[in-house]
Amino acid sequence: MKIRLRPIHSCLFAVLTVCAPALAQDDAEKPLVVGGFENQGSITTGYRFTDVTGYRPEFDQLFGLNSGFRLLDFSLFGKAQDGQNRFADGYSLTMSGLGGDPYTSAQLTAHKNRLYDLRVNFRQSHYYFNQNDGTLPNGSDGLTNNHNWATVRKLGSVNLLIHATNNLRFSFNYDRNTRDGMNWTTRSLDYFGSSATWGSFARANPYYVLAPLSENTSRVTGGIDYTHGGWNFHYRLGYQRFEDAINGLNASSPERSINIDDPTTAAELVNGISWTDSRKLSTPVSEFSYTGHITPKLEARGGYIFYRYSGPAALDMSFDGIARTNTGGTADALYAVSVSSRANVTEPNHVIDQGFTYKAREWWSLLLDYRYSRFVVDSNAQFRSVNGLVVATGDTSNQWLVGTHTADFTMVFTPTSSLLVRTGVRYVKSDVEFLDAGIADPTLSKRIKTVWPVASVYYQPSKMLTIRADVDQTTNGTSYTRITPHTDVGGRIVVRVRPIDKFYIEDTAVVRNSTLIDTDYHSAVRSNAFTATYEYNSRVSGFAGFSCDSLFSSDLVSFLRGPVPFTNLAIRDQNVDRVWQVGVRLAPVRRLEINFSGNYVRATGVGEIAGEAPLYGPMSFPYATGSVHYDFPRMGRLALEVQRTYYIEQIVPGNNFGAKLLTIAWTRSF
């Protein structure tokens, strides 16, 4: 499908109309003086045409760049003329992505020298996720989790810093984080006190439900920073509150579960699901830290952080429909279930750390750091369910007690200005204890001791050559999970060669091997990234890069039942991600510039369990932008951007798409 050009006329008209006042200005270099401020800035507006072929939701998930008029970028900076403004010496306002793009940001700053700094930030990200699982291989539907959403996360903050004296500052901060929007998810209709027969029904039938989200977190803090005689103290005190509420409903009625390959589920229809889930958590915030010199050679640093999360949670749910009355699913009956549960949780956190740096010689420093963190989760919940005439009630209480000691000892050598060597060891001891109704659970309670030697080097023998390298090895006495390695050995080396000032190449190589002999778990990471940058002159420059990142892991898995064999089946996961990158900039004449930048991602490898075909395989993902812009004298910059991208999966082709985008933008400085 070709991009239709007819809307371009209306677009250009719109752009020119918006920019008309700016075009009337004679001199863009001279700042505007308004309200005692010398104001400068720029505005970029434009229109984007988007043409997508194939599976549009995947494009929306990865890019979300739709057609329409946009305020792509706006910046305004003001500097007070000498002595003409009592309230501020300067301010700035920047915005981008307004008008429908998935990422919008805005920042307002103002400052008065030696008095205050104010920053107000806002950014939001739209998330769209819609996995097309109707086209998976093997005729199986519902293989993916069917958790789709169209949500927006908004992050806002206000930070005010007041300089009371040269040594004393006060800060006031307000942060807000929200997430709203539509969420489609699946729920298995299990409940407290359900029978084994009901369990087989619940496991076989996840139902698709609509569950709009509403979450918000607010945080208010005030702080003090004090400096005296080489010592710096920082303290922040505040309060944080989190609330969320999800109200779920069945997507249709009567509704079949997503397990449509099982004929038994055809009769197990749900008529209605009504579900309300809410949670509140609040915590005080207390953070203290300091640094200072005890003697000219001995520096101390430390801190203490305290939080105490606590709050209630509630679940009210009812559902009715038809469910099996035997585990085989050969007989069905109507049901109506209601659930009402309440919970309370608390979690105090303490983190204390103390460190010292001793500068034994000009070329030799010793660093010693210790940290202890502890959190205790104390929770209880009451459950109640009613299925027909059968009422079930119960409660639970449990505790997590986790304390972790971390000690680091490091020596830093700088024998010459071009050589830095760090070597040290980290020791970690973590005590994890889980108590269920006061009784320790041996599976979840463990003491984990880890030794972790590290060495790194930075060497720059000449301006032409820079080498950075590090190597480390962790050894866990006990592994907490099956993929926590007993030993993990890795290293990285980065070499940069700059034979001439205008050209340099850099290569990064990473190797890491992990093993857990108890379960025959192995993983290996091999990564190499190469980049070359060339800047011939101010008019010609280029960049190219290639990286190859491979992961191989293998493990054994067992199932409790099912078709034989079901023990010690090999899991193999192998990813090889290759990324090619290129960028070219040309400015053939003074006001004209041409840019091209692009990536090509190629992922190969499979994840499979022995005896089963892999569900995902090779994937190709190229995307590129070519742009031309021209600076018209006294009028601004006209930019044309052409963008192309494709997403091609070989085994799950239902997600594939191709997209063409054209953006016409105008930038005017003032």
Partner: protein, 192 residues
Amino acid sequence: MDCHSTHLVEAARNPKRVDLSIAQSAFFSVPQLPEENRWLHNSLLKKPQPELCFGCHGNIQAEFALPTHHRVPEGAMKCTDCHNTHGSSNLASLRQNGSETCTNCHTEKRGPFVFEHAAVKVEGCTACHTPHGSVNRKLLARREERLLCLQCHVNPFAANVPHSRLSFQTRGDCTRCHATIHGSNFDANFVQ
């Protein structure tokens, strides 16, 4: 290491810098502040983030080029949102200890919960997610979600999988039913 410039030398040398190395920034029209103002707004950095960081961390730059990634190259986030570049006592120079860095934004994933997923509580988010970028959905460490779960959920070290091999439960993603996998207040199996 030399990230800062105390004078406006860089700005004067290259007033209209074009970021060639990050294709996403061109694709998403990352705002290009005038160099003089950009320089002052970003702690006197010689180059803007993430270009400055990618100058030394080429392999990380490649991870951000993968289809699913945190929106750093697009300008919606900065490296310093998560990392303290001057160093910290946390792994990977994170600004906060362990998963607290993640739950600073993903507040809904943070407990405490009545029923904690032990791997999340003890080992943190990176047990399952690769934070910079991934070919896989939701930044998961494995292409198929069930392979990620099955790596741990077999004895020893974790609960055995109670489902049948090659059944509906084990052929698809586990979170179809275990939807509250980060933690639940009402179901020990993370179903509600």
